[in-house]
Symmetry: C2
Subunit: 501 residues, 2 copies
Amino acid sequence: MNPDQAYVELVRLSRGETVLTSCLELLEWDEEVCMPRGGGEHRAEQMALLAGLVHDRGTDPRYGELLSSVEASPLVSDPESPQAVNVRELRRGFDRECRMPRRLVEESARVAALASQTWAHARKQDDFKTFAPWLDRIFALAREEADAVGYVGPRYDALLDDFEPGMTTDRLSALFTHLEAQLVPLVASLRDEPTPAPGHVLAREFPLDRQRLFVEGVAGALGFDLQCGRLDVGHHPFCTSIGPGDVRIALRYYPRNFARGFFALLHEIGHALYDQGLDPAQYGTPMGEAASLGLHESQSRLWENLVGRSHGFWQHFYPQLRSAFHEALHDISLETFRRVINHVAPGLIRIQADEVTYDLHIMIRFELERALLAGDLRGADLPGAWAELYQRHLGVTPKDDRTGCLQDGHWSEGLIGYFPTYTLGNVYAAQLFAAAERAVGPLEEAFADGDFRTLRGWLGEHVHRHGQRYTVAAIIERATGSAPDPSALIDSLSHRYGSAR
Amino acid sequence: MNPDQAYVELVRLSRGETVLTSCLELLEWDEEVCMPRGGGEHRAEQMALLAGLVHDRGTDPRYGELLSSVEASPLVSDPESPQAVNVRELRRGFDRECRMPRRLVEESARVAALASQTWAHARKQDDFKTFAPWLDRIFALAREEADAVGYVGPRYDALLDDFEPGMTTDRLSALFTHLEAQLVPLVASLRDEPTPAPGHVLAREFPLDRQRLFVEGVAGALGFDLQCGRLDVGHHPFCTSIGPGDVRIALRYYPRNFARGFFALLHEIGHALYDQGLDPAQYGTPMGEAASLGLHESQSRLWENLVGRSHGFWQHFYPQLRSAFHEALHDISLETFRRVINHVAPGLIRIQADEVTYDLHIMIRFELERALLAGDLRGADLPGAWAELYQRHLGVTPKDDRTGCLQDGHWSEGLIGYFPTYTLGNVYAAQLFAAAERAVGPLEEAFADGDFRTLRGWLGEHVHRHGQRYTVAAIIERATGSAPDPSALIDSLSHRYGSAR
């Protein structure tokens, strides 16, 4: 078989593996959104089986032979060609997958399915005790995974690398230290700001059926294609891509917490637009996949905050919002509403956090998941450690685990090393948004006119369509003119929230 | 490996194959109930891939070796032991599967996924032309399948055998000839009956939201466990079992056709109770699977008709129905309502047909699908042939294809040879219901008291729990004292609808 034929065969194998993985995505989506409680154990068996089959395909020795054959050929001489990119990334995935024992892959899938069901129930009942042993099991499996794939620095690096290729614990620690130094004074300076009673406005009643209608309208206006996607109610907000033409968002709505549901929509829309902006012709190969989770979160955080908290956005949408929720908002001006949704105050819930304190929530999780992974913290002791860190960094203490360590589902799904990608996303988002404005002019004005296409087009051109053609650092540098750097984030926050505003 | 070890391994392989097949079931359910239109092509790829993998597992030469090893051992000496039953049925499946080319399996799954989407859209638009070429493709694949698995008599037998083991075209032809001879005079004698204006009552407005609430209540009362299942809205009514603890019903509701949605519920409840009544400990082996599609339809038809059209059933439910739909039913007595829902009149729609004419609808499909399979009828000519047979046997002619040959989705899903199992189901149901009454006393009285557990218990004991331990004929004979025989059906219809009533 010559290298051209080998490459064609490699692409065929990669597509098959991706399609099989997409069946697993559907099982997960269904588990969160549709599955009756009684189906939980069987679901875990389905997931374990499919995860094992995906692993078999991903470690097929033929894969290795084909890769070697193409790697030694002129097909990959231009490192930015689709062939070179796909071979580079397939090799990365193949080498990692080959180091994973099949038993561990199956067991991790089974445990994630059962643990996430237990978590959803435990959160509802505020019953951390039933979840704690699962947490230990999940971190034990994560340790096994890290040891299997190997690492040079801290063990946590092995997990991180799966979400953000090349990222290290040390670089993240430095990033958080830097951010904390900048953010803590900014938060402190805002403590003296008069509170516009945000609780009062947003805790008014926003009927659920009208929230759903409003959310669907906004999703469409921002460019989410409902012929090629769905909006559902799930235990927690998430976005998943089943395949080209099928990108699904799940949300939770709260009758007396409009902002929580709504900003989650904007967040997931950012993810969905990235997935819907990938090149469907490259589906099933790295060229058709998102470059990293950090870059994915840059899209979600960008739409959630830089778009969704802007004056222009609400100039466009506030009249509609006020008419949909007249009882709640009839006496609230656009300016008051914006002050309310942009109010900075340390709080307990990550996905409700303002932009300034948000990264402190992530920093806490970064610290805790490393302690859990190292075995320095046991699952049973998490609530205490959680409370201590929230008190230390944010000055607040959860009154129960629902608003404490049970609030996020990531760990229950086996996602260890995921949280830092939100902060990386914030860093990239600030750089990308500033670059977009330099390129296309003030976006606030476009938003005020209901034009979200301009921004979407710029992001599609500079981020989405590339898939994994470049590394994340290269994508950021090509799009913004600078390597990844937190200064744009600090500038953006200081400008919009600090005394300079 | 000794036969005991071989048997354990065989069960493990069978379970794995069943779990993998259950992932395919979820993909199908999702396609019907959730999937956005844009996801259709990708879904077809997913289904083709999984169908291919199921085939690989089902034809694994190891399977054959293990079967041979156990077949030659004393483990299977008692033909009613779980070991003997599982080995017998796994052998049947293995031999059939080994004769199927992999390419055909994948292609059939792909075409079924795309064709059923096309059908759903074509029916909505009353656009038979776009569906016609798919019909030809599906029947061409069915021919290939039949030729691959082989047959002795007519080619159609090869397909029939997959749904109803051992059933033949000849036996079915004789059954339909017999039924037609008995039913046509019965239908004719009822033509002179005064019409209680069924259209008027059932075409009144039954608001959809209240239909859904009522249906959920009835489903629960009949014993459908919503912790272990779901009720959804789909393109057409169906029931699917994703696995133990996860049995799902999809329904369509019509604001001005209460009976159509409601009797579909009862039908699907019958299927669901069978699935929920199988022994979960035997899941993944023939001992944990339904004995045949005919027996499955006996359960659906029994609950739909022998329970759901009975006086006792409505003595219990009519007060609730009338209070839920007061505007529609305030002037309609229980007796009038029962006359309306039991009115016999030849019509166009199978799932709306009364019990007496129902089997004539099946007979027409039995004739048409054999002609399509033989190639004597082309897809494009189906509407004409359909109209002709409906005119000949039922004296009615559809005014469009929506109420004609586009009404059922079975063919679009590649289910050729399925329709006759409804009539077999009617035959078995009449025998089973009569036997249940002989055993536990008049069921009408139990129904009037809201007791559906007695019947469910009897069916569980005599039908559901056996799985495939016995052949269908043996299950019927053990449960009723007689071999399968249409006389109980004719007796039941004559008694309830004829001059003798």
